[in-house]
């Protein structure tokens, strides 16, 4: 009976689970292996096993780093992602604090209003936003992206942080008020330090989303040097009819690494905040 239940477990759980993992990870494996394959192997499946590399090469990565503007794109993307993350954290922390801790008439409606903004997809906004960006003289500038990304980051971060602030006991703030602390001191010295896990998960979320964003970056940025990695790979590296698959995959791999690394460092915060947010 023990063996029978184990066989059953393998069939019902481990087998489908392995299929899922295999399929979900295969494109990354394929991306990685293509990045290190010499062109001869890349385009010849008859003599080489496509699933393995017999003579790995760094040529594609070298080409990417020294013959293209890839380092500049990485720098721009990093700048935009960090800038918009900080701006969003600043705005949403204050908003969440006001909505959850300062409780005023209509505060639930303000919260709902900010949250509804999350449901407005960028695909509807990019055309009018392009004209707004031009009016502000920000066209083709990374600043435009830093200012625009918070429109989809602030709603989610605010929602997440409201949940975190809710979990901090009011008594702590009340004690400080009795002791004569000002509201700002309370925010800076009591509420914020206690909300650090929430701030970290909101930060990771914002960083990954900004790194990922595509349509605004495609519509608002024109010059090669100001492009973000996803846009630049697609518009600058894909040229002509012969695709440089090695360099393209190397670019995708390098562009995915910062997010994957950043995320793996904080994965516990991330998953727990995601599950926490759903539980709300």
């Amino acid at each position: 009976m023990a063996w029978d239940s184990r066989a059953r477990r393998v069939m019902m759980i481990y087998l489908p689970l392995s299929c899922f993992v295999l399929i979900l990870l295969f494109p990354f494996y394929w991306m990685a292996i293509t990045s290190f394959k010499p062109n001869a192997e890349l385009l010849n499946y008859k003599e080489h096993n496509p699933f393995w590399i017999s003579s790995p090469t760094l040529a594609h990565i070298k080409h990417l780093l020294f013959n293209t503007a890839y380092p500049t794109w990485l720098k721009t993307t990093m700048f935009v992602a960090i800038g918009s993350t900080f701006l969003s954290l600043f705005a949403s922390t204050l908003a969440a604090y006001a909505i959850e801790r300062l409780r005023f008439r209509g505060s639930p409606y303000v919260g709902l209003g900010i949250y509804l903004a999350y449901l407005v997809p960028p695909s509807i906004l990019f055309i009018p936003l392009a004209t707004v960006i031009v009016q502000f003289g920000l066209f083709d500038s990374p600043m435009a992206l830093i200012l625009v990304y918070p429109t989809f980051l602030v709603p989610f971060c605010t929602w997440l942080l409201i949940g975190y602030f809710k979990s901090i006991p009011y008594e702590l703030e009340e004690c400080a008020l009795v002791d004569g602390a000002t509201r700002l001191q309370i925010l800076r010295r009591i509420t914020l330090p206690l909300a650090v896990p929430g701030l970290i998960s909101a930060g990771i979320f914002s960083f990954t989303l900004s790194w990922n964003e595509f349509i605004y970056a495609l519509a608002f940025i024109q010059s090669g040097a100001n492009k973000t990695v996803p846009v630049a790979i697609l518009t600058e590296l894909v040229t002509g009819d012969v695709y440089q698959w090695g360099a393209l995959m190397a670019g995708s791999l390098l562009g995915s690494l910062p997010v994957a690394l950043f995320y793996s460092l904080f994965v516990d915060y991330y998953v727990s905040s995601l599950t926490g947010a759903v539980k709300e």
């Binding site: 204050l94 997809p121 695909s123 906004l125 429109t151 602390a181 995708s252 759903v278 539980k279």
Partner: protein, 318 residues
């Protein structure tokens, strides 16, 4: 009870200045706290949304202010086969991809809800497709779908000998349509799975124990406990998924750019092609605005269709 309050360390040792005292005035503090968030959202979201609706009623082009032309853009779209094609594919893409994502994502969530070693590592790995920038994984799919060097064709032709010719994934309309849907499902599974997993973990084990005592089978436990208890979360996650699948842009733009012969245009890519690349801002805005009724309908349908069963969750669980 002691009446003396000792100054607790760190807090309120200095006398607050007038600025700090101004911030103690609650209405002022509330306004100051809400200004950055609401300001950003008003300038870069609410205003453009209104502007977009206005642009849809004008003949604005890039570099030229347009004049109000009423419903002309929409009348034109009504007669435009490409717009109808995009509407068809957007609905088709959303329906099939959402179904696939939820069927497979729910299954994966149920699998991940079991106990086995390296559980948290596995969850982290499973989330990867969702974390990595869509365009970059889309490029990997583009390479997987290559007409000559597709690894899928290689497997089918040279390893398994099921076919004799390579599959031209992106060369024909239906092939391209389903290839994009497959990539979208692949990308969407992790988010659905992790969100639903969170939901599964909120279901009290005592419900299952009671059902087991009553002799319920595994399928009955799923049908009468898991499924109804998951309804509220399913409703929320599905609403999100539908909105973001319907307005998807990146995958299609990266893999097919709407081709072959415009068969894979979603409304978003068509709006980009007409509005930004083609310079017809007014017409592009009209295409973007034409997404709104579909979104409102889909939201109402998925949210209220599923969430009306919320009472089954029991009280005090809101």
């Amino acid at each position: 009870m002691s009446v003396t309050t000792l100054p607790s360390r760190g807090v309120a040792l200095r006398q607050p200045g007038w600025v700090a005292r101004l911030f103690d005035y609650k209405p002022f503090l509330i306004v100051m706290c809400l200004t950055p968030a609401i300001g950003l959202l008003t300038v870069f979201l609410t205003y453009p949304l209104g502007l977009g609706v206005w642009l849809a009623f004008t003949d604005t082009t890039i570099g030229q202010r347009g004049i109000f032309i009423g419903l002309e853009n929409f009348q034109y779209l009504w007669t435009d086969p490409l717009w109808w094609g995009a509407v068809f594919y957007s609905v088709f893409y959303t329906a099939i991809a959402t179904f696939g994502k939820f069927a497979l994502g729910f299954w994966l969530a149920l699998l991940l809800n079991n106990h086995f070693p390296l559980k948290s590592l596995l969850r982290a790995i499973v989330l990867l497709p969702w974390i990595v920038p869509t365009v970059l994984s889309a490029l990997a799919f583009w390479w997987i779908y290559d007409p000559q060097f597709s690894i899928i064709s290689y497997l089918l032709v040279d390893v398994l000998h099921i076919r004799t010719t390579n599959i031209d994934f992106l060369g024909n309309p239906w092939g391209a349509r389903f290839s994009l849907i497959a990539a979208n499902i692949w990308r969407g599974i992790p988010f659905v799975a992790i969100s639903l997993l969170a939901g599964l973990q909120t279901i009290s084990p005592s419900l299952y124990e009671a059902a087991m005592l009553d002799g319920a089978s595994a399928w009955q436990r799923f049908r009468y406990i898991t499924f109804p208890m998951m309804m509220p979360i399913l409703a929320i996650v599905m609403t999100f998924s539908i909105i973001f699948t319907f307005t998807d842009f990146q995958l299609v733009y990266a893999i097919t750019r709407g081709g072959p012969v415009n068969s894979t245009h979603l409304l978003a890519t068509l709006a980009f092609q007409r509005g930004i690349a083609g310079g017809e801002l007014g017409e592009g805005a009209a295409i973007a605005v034409s997404m709104i009724p579909f979104l409102v309908f889909a939201t109402l349908f998925s949210y209220f269709g599923l969430a009306r069963r919320k009472w089954q969750q029991g009280e005090a669980n809101d």
